[in-house]
Homo-oligomer: 158 residues x 2
């Protein structure tokens, strides 16, 4: 029981495998629904929601939030701009960067997509999360996330 005892009673490799499998399948399922109803995928929905809730963010802020590279964040912003869902505005305080904000179209889209997102997520997870373990697990994931972010774990290079 060497493996189990390292995690204080939890089989960490099994925990990780379950975490990844849940994430993959939920992400895929949400992609399907969001694509068919709104023409976007989950990563775009999350970017739009972040920009709605944090207007004036920079490309680097998107990268940090989602733990993706700066390059990927920049390209993602390009795509949102190309669809006229977001735009870059010159940052008056630092001309190297731009401040991102949603357009009216983008705002309407994210609000509509959020309904689909929440509905689908509820459909897929509410039964399992309904019991008393739900909030405990949610709290633990929030703590794990906070720890990883505090220690800057798993940030890509570029």
């Amino acid at each position: 029981m060497a493996t189990k005892s390292s995690g204080g009673g939890t089989d960490l490799p099994a925990f990780f495998a379950d975490l990844v499998r849940c994430e993959t399948r939920l992400y895929n399922a949400l992609n399907d629904r969001l694509r068919e109803r709104h023409g976007i995928v989950t990563s775009q929905f999350e970017s739009l929601r972040f920009l709605r809730d944090h207007p004036g963010s920079r490309v680097a802020d998107l990268a940090a939030e989602f733990a993706i590279g700066i390059g990927a964040a920049s390209k993602g912003a390009d795509r949102l701009e190309k669809q006229a869902w977001a735009r870059r505005r010159t940052n008056p305080a630092d001309r190297r960067s731009s401040l991102l904000e949603l357009t009216d179209d983008g705002l309407r889209l994210v609000d509509a997509a959020e309904a689909t997102f929440t509905e689908t997520l509820t459909e897929l997870t509410a039964a399992t999360l309904r019991g008393p373990a739900g909030p405990v697990a949610a709290q633990l994931l929030a703590e794990l996330r906070a720890t990883l972010e505090r220690d800057r774990i798993g940030l890509p290079t570029g």
Copy 2:
């Protein structure tokens, strides 16, 4: 509190966000360690471990396990074969498919990588999972995974 009550006391969108952020950062961090020490990434480690533990699996079995498309699984197998970590053997019962198995090199690699994997994962998560919430959360994710797999949620097309 409409959102929270749908999940029986859990904010499902927040739960999902935390789940995805944890998965991304852990995956990235494990990628770094595995790449520098063994020249593989986490997805390859997981494939190798699966083949070690389920010898004679088919490409379709890999796809189902990881909720990726058949095409992606086929290409992944190609890459493992190219490195001589695995090989395809003709399936005597069905000549459309091959049975995959590790080579001796592949077996040595996965065993070595597993030590790095477990060690890194422990380093990153053991502190958070140590408390009483750890097993509760692990159990909940296992149940969620089982539900998603039972209902075939989030399987790609090809």
